[in-house]
C-alpha cells in the first residue's frame, strides 16, 4: 500500500492521518461499509460505490478509516476490489452473524437436522470448488446444482456404506445414543425428496435442505441463480470464494484438527468418480454441475 501514498490527497499526505479525518470522510467510510453490507449490490452497477472503492484503494488514510468503521461494527474485511466490492463478513458474536437457530427452526431441537444443514453448506462449497486450485484461482467461477450436490454427497455416503459392509462392520447405531451414529448415515437415511400436497419441495428432504442453503447463499450475494435445471443451477461470485477460502474452510479445518482428525492427502485428486460397479441409483438430472445435456 505504501506506493499509493503519493496518490493520496495532498493534505492527507502532509498532515498526520488522524488530523485529516473530517466528519465527511467518516461519513464516506461508513457509506462504503454500508455498501458492503448489501452483498448483492455490484460495484459496476453503482457509480458512488465504485468511486468509494477507488478512493479506498488510492487513499490509505481513508482505507484505514473504512476498516476501522467495519471493525467497530463487528465486521471483518475480506477484500476491497472492483470485482468483489467491499467484501465484509460478520465476526463471531457480531449482530450481523447468522445463527443456526435463526436459519432453520428444527435445528435447535434435532442434532441430526443441525448437522444436515451444516453439511449442505459444506457440500455446496465442495461442489463449487472441487479442486484446491479452483478455490485459490481468483478468476474461477464454480457451478452447482441442487440435485448435483445431493447426488454427490449420497455418492460419498454410499462409498462409506460399502466400505463398512466390506469390513463386515455393523454400522447400525446403538439405540438411544443418537450422537454416536456415523455422520454419513444421517444424510443417507434422509429421503432425497418427497411429494407434498402443494407441489413444493419437501423442506426436510436432502434436496430441500440443499435448496435452502443455496437460496440463502444467493441472498448473501454468494451465488447467482442461472437456471431451473437439476433443481436449480447457480454460479459462484467472488465474495463466496473469498468467504470459503479465507473464513469457512480454515475455521472448519481447525475444528477438525481439534477433534484429532488430521486429513492427509498426497495431492492426488480426492473427488473421484464412482466406481464402475458402484450401482448408485442416481436420480434423474442429478447432472452434476458442469454436465450439459
Amino acid at each position: 500500500m505504501t506506493e499509493h501514498v503519493e496518490w493520496s490527497e495532498p493534505e492527507a499526505a502532509a498532515a498526520p492521518a488522524s488530523a485529516a479525518v473530517t466528519p465527511a470522510d467518516a461519513a464516506d467510510a461508513a457509506r462504503l461499509v454500508a455498501f458492503g453490507l448489501q452483498p448483492k449490490l455490484q460495484p459496476a452497477r453503482d457509480q458512488e460505490y465504485a468511486d468509494l472503492l477507488r478512493r479506498y484503494r488510492e487513499d490509505p488514510p481513508f482505507a484505514r478509516l473504512a476498516d476501522a468503521v467495519a471493525t467497530g461494527l463487528g465486521l471483518i474485511v475480506l477484500e476491497v476490489s472492483p470485482r468483489a466490492g467491499m467484501a465484509v463478513t460478520a465476526a463471531e458474536d457480531s449482530v450481523f452473524a447468522v445463527r443456526m437457530g435463526d436459519y432453520a427452526r428444527r435445528t435447535s431441537a434435532d442434532g441430526g437436522d443441525r448437522f444436515l444443514h451444516g453439511l449442505a453448506h459444506l457440500a455446496v462449497a465442495a461442489m463449487a470448488f472441487p479442486r484446491p486450485e479452483d478455490l485459490a484461482d481468483d478468476g474461477y467461477i464454480g457451478r452447482v446444482t441442487v440435485n448435483g450436490v445431493d447426488a454427490f454427497v449420497r455418492q460419498a455416503c454410499h462409498r462409506l456404506e460399502e466400505r463398512a459392509a466390506e469390513q463386515g462392520e455393523n454400522t447400525d447405531p446403538a439405540s438411544d445414543t443418537p450422537g454416536l451414529e456415523a455422520a454419513w448415515r444421517i444424510w443417507a437415511r434422509r429421503s432425497a425428496t418427497g411429494a407434498t400436497k402443494d407441489a413444493r419441495r419437501l423442506a426436510g428432504s436432502t434436496t430441500g435442505i440443499v435448496a435452502k442453503a443455496v437460496a440463502f447463499l444467493t441472498d448473501s450475494g454468494f451465488l447467482q441463480r442461472t437456471g431451473d435445471d437439476n433443481g436449480g443451477t447457480y454460479r459462484t461470485t467472488a465474495r463466496y470464494q473469498l468467504q470459503v477460502r479465507d473464513m469457512a474452510g480454515s475455521a472448519a479445518l481447525a475444528e477438525l484438527l481439534e477433534l484429532g482428525v488430521v486429513p492427509v492427502t498426497d495431492g492426488t485428486p480426492t473427488l473421484l468418480p464412482p466406481q464402475d460397479g458402484d450401482d448408485l441409483e442416481l436420480v434423474a438430472d442429478a447432472g452434476l454441475p458442469f454436465h450439459s445435456a
Binding site: A126, A252, V283
Partner: protein
Amino acid sequence: MTSPASTDSVPPQLSAGPRPAPGPAADEGLARRLRALACTAPLHDLDARKANLAGEYSVYGMAEIALAAIDLVTLNMDFDTGADHDQVVARLIPRIAAQAPRRPAAEHERVARWVLENLINVGSVDRGFRAVYGVFGADGTYVRRDYDFKLVEEVPGPGGTVYLRTTDEAVNVLVGALDTDVTSAQIAAEVKLEVLIRRGRLADAQLAAEQARYRTVQYSETLRRALEATRRNVRAVDWLSAVPDMIAEALDHVADRYRHENAILTNIRKARDESEDPGHKRRAAELVDIVKDCIRRHTQLQSRLLEAGPLFRAEQDRQAFANPTSTSGTDLYGHLLAPLLPLPVERASRVTDAFFAHGTGLRTPVSVRVADLVEILLTPPVEREHLGAEMPEPDLIATPDDSRFSEEQLAAATELLDLPADAPRRLSGLLADARRQDPELPYLVALLAIHAASPPFGTAYRQGERKLLFAVDDGTDLVDPEFGGADLIVGTALLDAAGMAADRTEAA
C-alpha cells in the same frame, strides 16, 4: 441367551446337545436375519393397523396390496426416473377392486393411496422405517441397535417431479435380487431375446428386452460420471488407459447392438404382423417400442462418446495448462468433507457448525419500532398465492423514439397520396403540396412514391386490398430544389377484390 443360569429347568438332553457357537460370529448371522425380518414388518403392520382406519377396511388384504405395489414400482422404474405415483395407484386399483367389488371406487383409490403412503412412511421426517434389534458385542455386552431402512423412496425426477423407486432392501427381501455384470448381462440378454422371439415367447422376450435397455443405459451412466469427474478434475480420471478403453468398448458395443437390434426389430415386426392372437400382437407391438427405445439410447450414447475426446482436451487445457497459482486453497472435499462423514454425528456437527458460522456471510438484523410493531401485528396474514411467486417486474429501459417521421406526418402524407383512381399526379406537384404543409413532409412523400414504383402486388392480392398506390417513370426529369431523378407519375390502381377473393378460394 448363552447364560447357563437355568440349568435346573432345562431338560438335560437339550443342554447336552451341540449349541450354536455363542458370541459375535453367531450374532452376525442373527443380525442379518433380524434385519431381513424387519423389512417385512411394515407389511404386516398394514394389516394390523387397517382396523384403525375410519371405515370398515378389514375386507382388504393390505399386505397383498403392499407387495403388489412394490412389484409395480420395481417393474415400472425406468433407469433415469422411477415409477409415477399416480400410475402406480391406478394400476393397483383393479386388484383392490377385485378384493371388494361392491365398495365404491373412491374407497379403492383411498386404500391404494393409504398403502403407498405407508410404504413410503410419509409421516416420518426421514420417510423411512426403524427397527430395533439386540446383539452381543465382541466383548460380550448386549447392545440394542437401530436399523433404518426404506421400502419405497421418492426421488426427484425431471422438472421437479417426484418419482418412486424401490430400495435395495425391498428388492432383496421382497422381490428377489437381480445382480449381474454389465457386459455379460447385456450379451446374455440379447441372445435370450433372439431365442425367445424365434420361439414366439414374447412375454419373456419383453422382459429380456427391458433388461437389455437397462444395461445400455448403464453404459452411458458410467461415461457420464467419468466426464463429470473430468470436468471437475482431469486428474481424477484415468485418461491414459481406463477411459479410452471404456470409450472404445462402448463404441464397439454401440455398433454391435445397433446392428443386432435392427435385426431383432425386423423379426418382431414380422411376428407382430403375422400373429393371429391379439395378445401376442399387442406384446409384439410393445416389444417394437422397447427395441426402438433401445436404438434411440444407443444413438444417444454414441453422440456422447464422440463428445468425450474434445471435452477431455478442453478441460486439460483449462485445468492442467493454467498458470499455477501462488496461493493454495483448501481441498474442501478431501480435507474436510471426506474425513468428516465417518465421524460420529456429534463430533462431525462441530465441524459443520464451524463451517456454517463462517461460511454464511452476514445478515443485516431487522429492527422494528414499537409503533410499526403494533401495525405489523394487526395486519392480517397475506393469503398465499396459489398462482405461485409474483413475477419480478422486468427492468425495461424506454428506448428513445428515433423515428424520422411522426405519426401525424405519416397521416398527412397518406392523405396527400390518397389520389382518385382516375387522376394520377406528378411527383413534383405532390412534393410542392407537401412542402407547403411541412418542410419535412416532402421526404416522406418521396420515400412513399419510390416504394410505390415497385408496388407490393403479392401482399395486396393475398390481403384482398381494394386499391394500390403505384408510380411509373415516363422519362420526365424531376425539377426540385431538394430531390433529383425522375418525375414519377403517382396514381392509385383499383383492384378487383371480389375476383381476387374468388381466385384465392379456387387456388386453395
